[in-house]
Amino acid sequence: MVLPETGAGAVLSRGQRTVDQRQTDEIRLVERVKARDEIAFKELVDRYQNKVFSIIYGILRTQGDTEDIAQQVFAKVYFSINSFDSRSSLLTWIYKITVNECYDYLRKKKVRKLVYESDFSEEDSKRMDNSEASADRGPAVDTQLAQRDLVLKLMSKVSAEDRNLMMLKEVEGHSVEELAQMTGMNENTIKVKLFRARQKLVKAAQRLMKSPGGAPTAPQSW
């Protein structure tokens, strides 16, 4: 016999139903893409293309190769969809592919060592031209580029899984609870993984920023 749900239980249940409904929709969509249903694949691309573009731009800050990388991401999604087991959310899986593609791109282009002028966005170039005017409004463009270079270097020092977790936490702003739900791991595992990733990042930063005298530069100076 099933008892009727009342009060907080009912609210929780409604919330749970929404999550379940979303998961069911997602699973159905994935099953259709696995069956090579082109309409389903178009639906998937339409649903996630803006997110993918945003992630790529966040990492590279250049629109030049964004579309090329996004195309590669969706091609990978198409060919690897059979390996997606629905333990994590589809967005988390696509997010992981996108971040990995960006790092592959950076590895190939080796832009992490040097910042080339071709990587400047138009906005960066304009701000560079008016750097004197913008000096009192925030960090200079070259400082921003150096900071981005440092962050990308640091993030390449941790595993792809740790990098994704860090990005989902810091860049996307998800809580530990949400990450647990998105990845299918439990909250303690997420906390341990994030803590270890942060420790690795600190060690990498201390190594990178060690001054010739031997003492690491204080993080406040970033």
Partner: protein, 160 residues
């Protein structure tokens, strides 16, 4: 201490740690300079990652792909789906052919290894050797001119 740090770190970094827990956490940090320094680095990194890699919402709104993006994705998928020469061996038929070839080579190798070596047939005696055996006084030494002279002398002696 390490466990408390690990369990509360994420909430502390986002400022969502309850007041009482926050006090305990900060007291713990005050008593351990090493942990405090590590946390300072973590705080600075957290801020740096957020500021550097987060796409501002106003920029994100302008990042929509150009028209025809899906068509270009499909074109790429089709281009990457073109079979290469090596992909033949991944097909079921190609795989079977490859396995059969390897099996055949193995069988041939085993047959060759298991066949006993027969002794080489003896060479037929050359007529010159037979002639010389009949006339042991002729000894070839390897010098052609000398050998010829010896043969003439022997023949002359035979005639006489």
């Amino acid at each position: 201490m390490r466990e408390r740090m690990r369990n509360n770190l994420e909430s502390y970094l986002t400022g969502s740690l309850p007041a009482q827990e926050n006090e305990i956490f900060e007291a713990m940090l005050a008593s351990d300079a090493q942990e405090r320094e590590q946390l300072e680095w973590m705080l600075a990194q957290s801020k740096l990652i957020r500021e550097t890699l987060r796409t501002p919402p106003e920029v994100a709104a302008e990042l929509a792909p150009a028209p025809g993006f899906y068509a270009r994705v499909i074109a790429r998928v089709e281009a990457e789906a073109q079979p290469s020469f090596w992909s033949i061996f991944l097909e079921p038929f190609g795989r079977r052919v490859a396995y059969a070839s390897v099996a055949l080579l193995l069988v041939m190798g085993l047959v060759m290894l298991s066949t006993p070596n027969e002794t080489a047939p003896e060479l037929a005696e050359a007529p010159g050797q037979v002639l010389m055996d009949d006339h042991p006084e002729v000894h070839l030494v390897g010098d052609t001119a000398d050998d010829r002279d010896r043969v003439f002398v022997n023949l002359t002696a035979l005639d006489q």
